[in-house]
Symmetry: C2
């Protein structure tokens, strides 16, 4: 590495990758990209893995294969345990790395606003393992109901908490699975009788969207047999029980499968870094995606809390992370040339969410789309943003195939395990722990 | 079901599926197909999932989607716990089903010839979970070596026990991964220095193949840096240690990753059925794939031990299972028409194994192929036998893509888990156990 400047990027999500791509073009820099997993994940499609439309490999791509031609980038699969800011050193599981600049882009995980008990009773959806777990539970509920049709009413019940894009897309996707994709597959039950409940604390679904689109989304979900409960605040969650406060009073909802899509918090030990954090453990950054005391440290994407000139926090979406990633890379390159840098400005290009096959809501550069047109916009934009070429082709085929046949091609339930298998599995599923 | 004859088929592998397909055409029959997992698995390609070339969904297809148009077939995801032969009833986890005819086709799992201790120290390869576990371990070994290049010699060592097709294909595939596919991805290590050892007790690899092909396979594997140890019998296995007896004396091999591909045994509680079994717990059947005392029960494929007219046992390959499946279905249909049935006769169409990219050995209808031609034969025959159309396209694209780019598109390591995640995972990974 001689006297090359060393930039460490933590996290290979949308933000981190954009930063590395831009930095790597400057051959006077050496970049180390650290991630705790070995793949970049296309998070916006995670719900399709959870509902058995896509396979994990369709939405994940090995970080090393994205970087193998960029010879000034070293990829490390490791976990950050701390930052020694004074010595400009980042502490990993079992070694230290010094940096000239540091970009923190580790993203978010499911957050419960401090109610960590709820984690035990609900399923989050932030990584591949989460998605596979939801998929297993949903598919198994249909199998169980086929074996015990008398209990199908209670078995085929799915409650989703949180009416943002993830909640809406999950609800729509489960409805589609039950209503059309697998309906022909069973002999003893009618899967269309599955009961899907979507709970939102606010007065609208998709609260960050234009209200017209929110109203449209609710109407279409209801047409697909989703029970949408607005103004319903979750008071408590226990084993298979949700206590909610609605305008009509307090209620208890029971369900075997409860999915939590209502909140996130920053990944990792952000609150031990000695940097300012908010309630969701996100790093509060200045207008330069950085810190006044440590201008060589940047935090971008879901791990950060950036307030624009009006004091409004930017949403936790991939577009923000990507723009911040490119900004941080440029800022570093400019700083190294002693150029003055300008504050970060987010350009909002729009937002979108699918409701089902041939149905989505989208707002692109101020123009609103719904129904089939919205779905086409959604499909094109998602394919356009997918990282690897192979993944694009594979997803396209899977989607076209699903569309033509109503078949979910990824409907795999992993094998059941013997006791011995379970014991050794715990060990092997944790890739941080190599066999010693 | 009125007074339709009821045929129960246990296992949706190659044998079970062929039987059901044939039986389902007779609309006077009702068929119940029971499997403990929800998918049919194309086992011959399992090693490609283990070495990150294919994704699980590429080689597995939901049983229900294969059967959804066959209205006289009911699919149950359940586990057989016993057979009440006198009352012609099969006992499942929590219910009973009576049958007029029963076809047992549950297959094989990794077997250790009674040395069940060895299971703890080795990785088997008979289902998707096994394959993902091997994949995680292999990929993680490279990640660890990149983090600790000083220990790369010990980390990048892979021992495979068993020189049959599975062992040969795994060894070749790991060699390819290390030698070309991922070699460019690392900065601190040379993955081509990985040490792959293939141990075989007999005097030849691929013992059931023509000897010319066996010799060819050994030569080619050695060219790919695989250390082939013939005439090496495993005496004992301990944690990361294998004791072998070679013509030169006893030796100890140490390795972090030990894969067991040397034996199988019948799946399930075959030894409690009150039917004759062999040393590998396989059901010893008569010349009609059945039992003299219980001619309404058939056992086919890897769960059975069938000896031909020369007393030679048929090999545990898909071709045997498929032919036996069709035979059993015909036999049942003939018996219902009071026709006399003939003994089963296996028609051996050949065998094959890949050694690497563009290299395989094959013997088809007596003609031997090696190298590129063998590989083309292998590729065509495997695609031809894949069950679902979508899978064929997906595999073809993946293969062509891998071939053009030397990239393994399925190189995903599942996320590392927090303690809480681990606890809830155990529960969710076992699809036999629904949330109550």
């Amino acid at each position: 590495m001689e006297n090359k400047k060393h930039i460490v990027v933590v996290g290979a999500g949308f933000g981190g990758l954009q930063a590395v791509k831009k930095l790597a073009k400057d051959k006077s820099l050496h970049i180390t990209l650290i991630d705790r997993s070995n793949h970049h994940l296309f998070q916006p499609l995670l719900y399709q893995v959870a509902t058995a439309v896509l396979s994990p490999a369709d939405i994940a791509i090995p970080i090393r294969s994205l970087m193998h031609r960029k010879k000034n980038v070293t990829v490390l699969m490791d976990e950050v345990t701390g930052i020694d800011k004074e010595n400009k050193t980042i502490l990993l599981d079992d070694k230290k790395i010094s940096y000239d600049f540091l970009i923190l882009a580790a993203g978010a995980k499911t957050g419960y606003f401090g109610k960590n008990d709820w984690m035990k009773y609900t399923l989050g959806l932030k990584n591949l393992l989460n998605a596979l777990r939801i998929r297993n539970k949903i598919l198994m509920s249909f199998e169980e109901a086929e074996n015990h049709p008398d209990r199908s009413g209670e078995l085929l019940k799915y409650v989703i908490i949180g009416g943002g894009p993830t909640g809406v897309e999950l609800a729509g996707s489960i409805a589609e699975l039950a209503n059309s994709i697998i309906n022909d597959d069973f002999r003893n039950i009618d899967t269309r009788k599955a009961h899907i409940v979507l709970i939102e604390a606010g007065s609208d679904l998709l609260p960050t969207f234009d209200r017209k689109l929110s109203v449209y989304a609710k109407k279409r979900l209801e047409k697909r047999n989703v029970n949408v409960k607005l103004n319903s605040r979750v008071l408590n969650i226990e084993d298979h029980k949700i206590y909610i406060k609605t305008p009509e009073g307090e209620k208890i909802i029971t369900a075997d499968i409860i999915i939590w899509a209502a909140g996130v918090e920053a990944v990792g030990l952000t609150n031990t870094f000695g940097l300012p954090t908010d309630r969701q453990k996100r790093l509060i950054v200045n207008r330069y995606c950085s810190f006044d005391e440590y201008p060589e440290i940047f935090a971008i994407g879901d791990i950060s809390d950036f307030k624009d000139e009006n004091g409004k926090a930017l949403p936790g979406v991939s577009a923000v992370a990507m723009q911040e990633g490119r900004y941080a890379a440029s800022a570093i390159i400019d700083k190294l040339k002693d150029k003055k840098i300008k504050p970060f400005k987010y350009l909002d290009k729009g937002s979108m969410a699918t409701i089902g096959r041939k149905d989505a809501v989208a707002e692109v550069l101020g123009i609103k789309f719904t129904g089939f047109l919205g779905w086409i916009m959604w499909l094109l934009l998602h394919l356009f943003y997918q990282v690897g070429f192979k993944n694009k082709v594979s997803i396209l085929i899977t989607w076209i195939w699903s569309y033509l046949t109503f078949g979910a091609s990824a409907r795999l339930i992993q094998e059941s395990l013997s006791e011995e298998e379970k014991q050794s599995l715990l060990y092997s599923l944790d890739p941080q722990k190599p066999v010693k």
